[in-house]
Amino acid sequence: MPSIERRAIAPYLFFLPALLLFLAFSVYPFYLLTHTSLFEWDGISPAKTFIGLSNYWNVLAHDRVFWTSFSQAGTITLLALVLQNALALLLAIAVNRRLAGGTLYRTVFFLPPILSEIVVGLIWFWIYDGNFGILNEALSHLGLARFARAWLADPNTALTAVAIIHMWKGFGWGFVIFLAGLQTIPEQLYEAARVDGASAWLRFRHITLPLLVPVCVVVSILTILGTMQIFALIIATTGGGPGYHTEVPITRIFHSMLGTSRFGYACAQGIVFGLILLVFSLAQMRFQRRVS
């Protein structure tokens, strides 16, 4: 009965392409990552030296630059969590009120998120340029020339300047998610509250905010995971400089791997960093389950 045989094998054939790719490019690299983290290896020579957990110990106890980079990514993340998401929520509330031109606003706000980090980084590199940038030019027109500086090369401003680019690129993305969340809140709730004489603030405080908590949690966790792993934007603007002032974990892992050829160490850095992010991810899932 060939047809029955064919039916029994067919399902497996449907899975096969996805399964093979997944095994080759997700599962096997995961094994490689954990395995290599236990060795000292330059990435080229056939000989690897097994050193147990030494790489991990060095990351945790001796790698001050790595933890500096971690806290710098944390600074950008905090700024994004507070400023970027507050702006995103405010704009979503505005557009959700059937504001004239609301769709036009949506189109414009979501424009930066569809651009690549490289393009965004290079535009802003030009805007921030110390000698010829439009920002300094604008400041001198406003009589504020003494504030002009090479924004991305000055240790005092580089990290904030990068954070501003990142938030500029990201807020529109939080905006569309908040807007989608707001649109799921039934209009009748507001009608009823209005009939009862609740003010705009009370309606926001007691209807909008509570119903938006799950969406806020999702936006927050995606902001954290996305911002902590910031990379291309750094490469396109500062490369981690000046000094180490805009280094982030991913640039450090890159440096360990291709800068100093310490592949085992790069893997250990990646795993330590991944485990920290995992804690955030799990905490969010727990929190979300408790809320809903």
Binding site: A10, P11, F14, F15, P17, A18, L19, L21, F22, A24, F25, S26, P29, F30, L33, T36, G43, L87, L91, A94, V95, A100, G101, Y105, R106, T107, V108, F109, F110, L111, I114, L115, S116, E117, I118, V119, V120, L122, I123, W126, W168, G172, I177, A180, G181, V218, V219, L225, M228, Q229, F231, A232, I235, I253, C267, G270, F273, G274, L277, S281
Partner: protein, 292 residues
């Protein structure tokens, strides 16, 4: 107060509120558009005027910058590379994810549930060091650009991206297949259609809207991909746009008009697709975030 004045007052208040929201939204919208306008403006200036002429609309637009960027700046090569990579990644993701999502929806057997959960968990569990292991693997397979041969590095750039796109694509497609009634397939099988025939002639056409979402979002991600291109390519003739932009920026630090022309070239296709398909794109992205 007569009823008429009360209504008039209410309308006045509503109009004032509208204006207040515009005061919030307009500057933000302007800040989204200005850097892009500045990029286009700079791309039309000359190497001499770009540092001194701060007008947004240059008196003499130097459109020939685009031809120079396309040929001397190698952006023509980068553009065609990006186009090829994006088409192949999208084709690969759509094909593999449609097959797998259909199988997850219709054929269950030991291990399929586990595979499904594992696949989706890769969307929630961050593995920031994965690129180190991916580099080691691609190196072992000879898929890193070492200066000779072009198809292996190109393959090394495409395959991991197909794998990377699968979880989200399957996450979008499986519920869609779940929603298609089984009776359709049963009657087709009675008519003598094989499993593949049912999939090809009935399921795929019905799933076209969901496949469109997958193709759109995958093409945006592939067009903007940077990290893998940074790992894999060292020769200009193989680089996609994002990598090429960075290479150009590194080699010609202050040639802003050509760089900006290259950036405009690089964003024209995605901005065009975005403006035409923005509803679908935004719905796809918010569906992923709100459901996930």
């Amino acid at each position: 107060m007569t009823g008429g004045t009360v209504i008039a007052l209410q309308r006045l208040r509503q109009q004032a509120a509208q204006w207040a929201w515009h005061v919030v939204c307009l500057p933000v919208a302007a800040s989204c558009l200005f850097p892009l306008a500045w990029m286009v403006s700079s791309s039309l200036k000359t190497q001499q005027t770009v540092f001194t002429d701060f007008s947004l609309i240059p008196a003499v637009p130097h459109v020939e910058n685009y031809a120079r960027a396309w040929i001397q700046g190698r952006f023509g090569i980068y553009f065609l590379n990006s186009l090829g990579y994006t088409v192949l990644v999208v084709a690969g993701v759509v094909a593999c994810s449609a097959l797998a999502a259909y199988a997850f929806s219709r054929f269950t057997f030991r291990g399929s549930g586990f595979f499904y959960k594992l696949l989706l968990s890769t969307m929630l569990i961050p593995i920031p060091g994965a690129f180190v292991a991916l580099y080691i693997l691609l190196n072992q397979l000879g898929l890193i650009d070492q200066g000779s041969g072009q198809w292996l590095p190109r393959l090394g750039y495409i395959l991991p991206q197909i794998n990377g796109g699968l979880p989200f694509a399957i996450f979008i497609l499986k519920p869609f297949f779940d929603g298609i009634p089984k009776e359709l397939e049963e009657s087709a099988e009675v008519d003598g259609c094989g499993v593949l025939g049912v999939f090809w002639h009935i399921m795929l056409p019905l799933a076209r809207p969901a496949l469109g979402v997958v193709a759109l979002l995958t093409s945006l991600a592939a067009w903007n991909e940077f990290l893998l291109a940074y790992l894999v390519f060292s020769r200009h003739e193989l680089m996609p746009l994002q990598r090429g932009l960075l290479a150009f920026h590194g080699a010609h630090l202050t040639e802003y008009p050509l760089l900006m022309a290259g950036m405009v070239i690089s964003i024209v296709p995605i901005v065009a697709i975005y403006l035409v398909m923005q509803r679908t794109i935004i719905q796809g992205i918010t569906a992923g975030a709100v459901k996930g």
